[in-house]
């Protein structure tokens, strides 16, 4: 949380995504106000904010679903372009393709990217292994539980090695024990593949558990209120005093403005 902390963190890192002066207005209503931040290559960044902070708008802007009023988003130094860059998403509502089997779901994104067949097969095998769904490869999403379906979506998104993976509370509705299990799995995948992940959540404990760095959004009109480096070793324990202190700190930050 100190300035030294932050510069030490950033010194060794390469910028992957650079957001400058991001502003979004709906008519006269200012939702996002001059947001500036960088996402570093291979980082697991968490973004938290109070309820109603324009989180969805923020996400949609990052993913280029909606036009930005002002500001720029650069990936690898050039403006973000859907033809060159891959930005993948995992939403809270599970969106596995219902008419494809688990393995075909994973193949789907890879085929769209027109990768060579043998590379596709290699990646499908690897992803199935990492998420532990090899046994279920020929199942259809309806035959799986909600958490398993969510893992199919995660596998599909990680398989294409996206420039940036945006995740919007993918585990929101699941019970806490399952959530921790899946979060551990997420971190395993992330570490193995070295993907750049931006994980957006209202759940502060989740953010402290997962993140290397946390960005705190203010209420509408949202700006980046604060940036917190999470310098705790893995595996993290929710009852570790340092963990608790950090969690309390972020909670207070969000509550008070």
């Amino acid at each position: 949380m100190t300035a030294d902390n932050k510069s030490a963190y950033k010194a060794k890192r390469e910028v992957k995504v650079s957001v400058k002066n991001l502003t979004k207005k709906y008519g006269d209503l200012l939702v996002l106000d001059n947001i500036n931040f960088d996402i570093y290559k291979g980082e697991l960044l968490c973004i938290v904010g109070p309820t109603g902070c324009g989180k969805t708008t923020f996400l949609n802007c990052l993913s280029r679903f909606i036009p930005i009023t002002e500001g720029t988003i650069d990936v690898d130094g050039v403006p973000a372009d859907p033809h060159i860059h891959n930005i993948a998403f995992v939403f809270q509502e599970v969106s596995a393709i219902p008419w494809l089997t688990v393995e075909d779901n994973i193949r789907f994104g890879l085929r769209i990217k027109r990768l060579p067949e043998d590379e596709i097969e290699k990646r499908v095998e690897r992803m199935l292994d990492i998420v532990g769904l090899t046994k279920y490869r020929t199942y259809y999403p309806q035959q799986l539980s909600a958490s398993m379906e969510q893992r199919v979506v995660i596998a599909r998104n990680f398989a294409i090695n996206p420039d940036l993976l945006l995740m919007d509370e993918p585990y929101g509705q699941l019970d806490v024990k399952l959530r921790y299990y899946l979060e551990d799995e997420l971190m395993r995948i992330w570490k193995e593949l070295g993907s750049t992940v931006a994980f957006i959540t209202h759940n502060i404990e989740e953010a402290v558990y997962l993140a290397e760095r946390i960005l705190i959004l203010s209420p509408k009109p949202s700006t980046i209120k604060e940036e917190v480096i999470v310098d705790l070793p893995h595996p993290r324990q929710f009852d570790d005093p340092k963990f608790v202190a950090l969690r309390d700190y972020v909670t207070e930050s969000i509550k008070w403005w």
Partner: protein
Amino acid sequence: MSEDREVKIACKGISKTFHVPGQKKLLHVLNSVSLEVYKNEFLVILGPGQSGKTVLLNCIAGLIEPTQGSILINNKPITGPGPDRGMVFQRYALFPWKTVVQNVAFGLTIRGVPLKERMEVAQHYIDLVGLNGFEKSYPAELSGGMKQRVGIARAYASDPDILLMDEPFGALDAQTRYAMEKELRLIWEKEKRTVCFVTNNIEEAIYLGDRVVIMSALPGRIKTEHNITIPVPRAYTHPDFLTLRKQISEDTDLVL
């Protein structure tokens, strides 16, 4: 200490199996569950995603009949749903064509209570849950947290002895959830009823409950229970809270 308290709900050997359409096997959801709930106790039934806890609650509510076993409310067997039990649903189940005050007064309308009295009672509970000013709004105009407050007011307004709550905050985001948990505890302290609260969230269970009963994965049975002795108001990050949370986490099953 709990032996000399009045037993409001007594479930003995509740089992429930379902026929799954298109499959030969039966689905065993509840496996001989026995449970007692004491008067004015805030009981939490905690279990992983699939543990039959909602089915158990629906049996107590009288919406489903158990395949085996008996349920006594105030020492009398139940014959279906009744005004002695009010229910709060995870997906709110508010009637979209009714305003907030009409929703809250629903239980009284069904019982034929006269208009003036209904409206007074409804107003009292609308005030209790902090929705003063929203009487004439429609559910579609309200946020998730507000909708659930209507749900709680509606359950309270029909004046039941027992409140049954089925993961009422499950659809809300983490921060709204914390706020609602705090409010619910405050509301309950003001107007105590016997509460059966179902959840899959351990923090919520410890924060709200006087006693937490832990259910296993399917087929559901009661694994263990914990009396929560942490003084109220409870803090989620207090060391005692966290220790208990770790303990309970070890007691719950992981269902993938």
